[in-house]
Symmetry: C2
Subunit: 600 residues, 2 copies
Amino acid sequence: MEQYVSSRNLRFVIHEMLNTAELQRFERFQGYDKESIDMALDAAKQLSDQYLYPFYREMDKNKAVYDNGTVKVHPCMRPGIKALAEGGWISAHDEFEVGGQQMPYTLLNACTFIFHAANANLSCHPFLTTGAANLIRNFGSPELNETYIPNLYNGDWQGTMALTEPQAGSSLSDITSSAEPVNGGEYYKIKGQKIYISGGDHDGVDNVVHLLLARIKGAPAGTKGISLFVVPKYRPEGDGLVFNDVTTAGIYGKMGQKGYVAAHLMLGEQHDDCRGYLVGQANAGLKYMFQMMNEARIGTGMVAAATASAAYYASLKYANERPQGRHPSNKDLTLPQVLIIEHADVRRMLLYQKAVVEGSIALLMLCSYYGDVSHQSTGEEAQNAHLLFELLTPIAKSYPSEWGIHAVSMGMQVLGGAGYTDDFPLEQHYRDIRVNAIYEGTTTIHGLDLLGRKLTMENGKAAMLLGQEIQKEVQTALTMPALAPYAEKLGKVGAGLQETLGKLVQTGMQEGPEVYLADATIFLEYFSYLVMGWMWLKQANLAQKALDAGQSGSEKLFYESKIQTCLYYFEYELPKATALKVTLNSSARVTLGTRPEVLV
Amino acid sequence: MEQYVSSRNLRFVIHEMLNTAELQRFERFQGYDKESIDMALDAAKQLSDQYLYPFYREMDKNKAVYDNGTVKVHPCMRPGIKALAEGGWISAHDEFEVGGQQMPYTLLNACTFIFHAANANLSCHPFLTTGAANLIRNFGSPELNETYIPNLYNGDWQGTMALTEPQAGSSLSDITSSAEPVNGGEYYKIKGQKIYISGGDHDGVDNVVHLLLARIKGAPAGTKGISLFVVPKYRPEGDGLVFNDVTTAGIYGKMGQKGYVAAHLMLGEQHDDCRGYLVGQANAGLKYMFQMMNEARIGTGMVAAATASAAYYASLKYANERPQGRHPSNKDLTLPQVLIIEHADVRRMLLYQKAVVEGSIALLMLCSYYGDVSHQSTGEEAQNAHLLFELLTPIAKSYPSEWGIHAVSMGMQVLGGAGYTDDFPLEQHYRDIRVNAIYEGTTTIHGLDLLGRKLTMENGKAAMLLGQEIQKEVQTALTMPALAPYAEKLGKVGAGLQETLGKLVQTGMQEGPEVYLADATIFLEYFSYLVMGWMWLKQANLAQKALDAGQSGSEKLFYESKIQTCLYYFEYELPKATALKVTLNSSARVTLGTRPEVLV
């Protein structure tokens, strides 16, 4: 079994960085002490080793195929989904009374990270089901709960998130799928098309349940007229299932994630008899969906970071086994070649990967922790955790997705020509990871979200809270000689960003939202460097304290690796923030000033 | 026919930036006036439209397959190669007396760029043949010339470059394939293995001729004991061809360039009867091969830039056709959605692509021009052109290869989900372009070449010449108000780089080559930003002059697009040089200080 994840690192984040066991102060999480957390992590790893990892490359080589209205996936999909369901992972976050384990998101996401690193082509399926089930659980009627939840939680049925339409990709205001009430709203007749529906149809389950956005006839224009429906492929009637007129027109030929179907669905096209069941209130669908989308965004970041994790360990293994070349200072040809990990530039590429992977994990787990606190706590603590979660979501989604692409690319580069071939898994990681910067809102969308919404909400309170959190780490690091210079650097980047944001806001007030938002993606990159600097200083602070307390053997190496990766981040990555600051502070307005006809 | 290249831009570079017709001052290039240059460019485009472009995606979907020792490629390979041969493109650079056209490299490479943009999976084959033929032409005996050149030039036989061995990827010193003289050197018995041999075996030609590196028994160790051989798959004997014991053990499952085979060859394995014919002097093989490698490096940069060119035009087309979303300042839902090219961030992604593609073309053509001058001129002019060619080769190879990856990725991002599917060519461009940063020396190797060899050769004379060339453009730009601020910025980056290099050299003298070369890849990136800034200022200077002289219609738009892309480069890209300068000036020695065992 090849390594695809570091269990030691996950435990570092879960226990040392976050003290997840302390979440037991919330009644819901009683019993999640350190031992049971470790048991859950072990169980996740064991399941992954058995049902997920061995089929990662298999599912790519024998990809999902569409044949005359049906979608055949790899034969290991069904037992894999079943194993995850039987392990309790689909319902783990939910309450005991519906068969859940009331597991903290922090722990669940650490386990999910292991599943994704082993084989996200498979593991995405049950976790999409969890998201769909959540919407029914939170907003659906008792009848919907009774009919759907048990079948979703036992892995027999697949849940999906059906938003995108051909004419309305990222622009949800322009959704046109229609819903017409029948029998005073007993059900709705659904008409329309949905595209790129992940897990939208496949034979690894018995039924597929779409949590689908549509517009009730006569509803207001835009996002205020969108409702949420449960639309199954087969609807339960009496004791059996009846075809619900959801047809799969085809699946997309994706560059990667080939085991994981993206379907094109036609609703009510064959018999004009596709029935949808309203979830919650009419016209409130987007609000509900956003709950699922926030989870899906963290989930997308996790898939990206997990793919980069598997790629990192694959390239590290190669670098530790492949002899090639000699040191610049000793080219004696009678000596054997050295392992490529001896070359400075190979180490740089490995450190880059490690910095992206472990920095991403730290942020994703921290966001999960904020999620737990915001849901379980009350008052200011809950509100602050919620604000930080909201502010950091665009980064937790986009940083692993965008920088993960480069990290996997570096992993491939470590292998040289071998990395470009299917003799090694890197080329699959490279293809698979690319989509995460598109899924669940492109990076552009998240830039707009960050600058246009998150930084301005409650008069910038989230940003202020983040500033305080960063200051805490800076102050701690300033007391440690090895880290003090980096604390100062991070403080400077933070101050520069604050100043840049202030100027941007002023410019926006003077020149309007086009100018304010024009470089939102660049701002997101800039902000990401700050947030990741914070993550690395946080980890290095803990590592330095552990080293100061005395460590030996592999534990010593582990903490040293954290310090060394932090140094790498501050010497090679953080300086890039300065370049982005220059661009953001320019008044040249290049992109706005480029008339479309000039692009030839 | 979709656009994959800008003929207007190639003409701008060839006529306005380089004045290629002026090369007629060299006797070899008599007759290459503006009209005949344009005719050649038109012929190349016409041939590409007919034989190359229509099969680009075809050759990916029906990839090359290995079956029991033989390799089947797409049926369009043979007519495509033949068409290129009959058009005279394989021998175009060579002399009239062997059927060539004595075409300047500058023009030939502009034409080759068109072929590669249309379908590099096909066009790489004949150009590899040209490289192999060049070695025979320059260093081979009359007999070798007589036997091989006509068959290579008429497209019946494929030429290759057989360097890489399993135990010696980038480390050519460690080549072990052996050659034992028979009959006093009439031929050599070759034994060994070669891997990743591009075009190494396929049924689009009747024979394959390997220009192969091997070690004559008893030769000195390292690069000084390597000889060059002609090793055909079938050797001519009497009137026919006899199997020469070159067996294809398999082909690699590549992520991209699937139409273009990379073969694993066994030499002399079946019958101990693989015959090689020495080219030139024994033990001088690597020196000869480097001639071909320099061409191959420029060629690799061209393939990368050409792939990025095709991707740019595919994403530009989509951006001009796809409606999606609304302006931040006008979200009125009763209005139709705007074309995505209206969004600032989409324009940024398009400008990035354009900056990479056209900056790369300018540099590649300039290098080709220096190549022509260095070969045809004499004295100081030839020597200076040679030095600049040598200095710029690592950038001309690596910049299009590395930044081209990002450019294609941006192109895919412009399409969103659609870009990730095979409904559009972007996903193929994305897979295809990735290998160029590995082929013909990884980026790491070119960083070492730049810093360790090119910048120090003749006491830094090449760098001094480059500084003068950059200064010329800076001075010109300073006279134009619109460009003067950018001239100043470029001057500053140049000065910063000079200072950084000075410090590095000093550090290297004090601390040795490990430290001097540790961040060679980062230095190459830094240097690339300077060189590309020079290319953009050069182009903008010409465009501004043309605009000042008065332009209208599409010509005006063309020159404005150059200015606008130059602004983009200076506002968004050049600032990144500063970040790299910070890293290079650090004394933290992070990568050297990272012990391998700390990478966990």
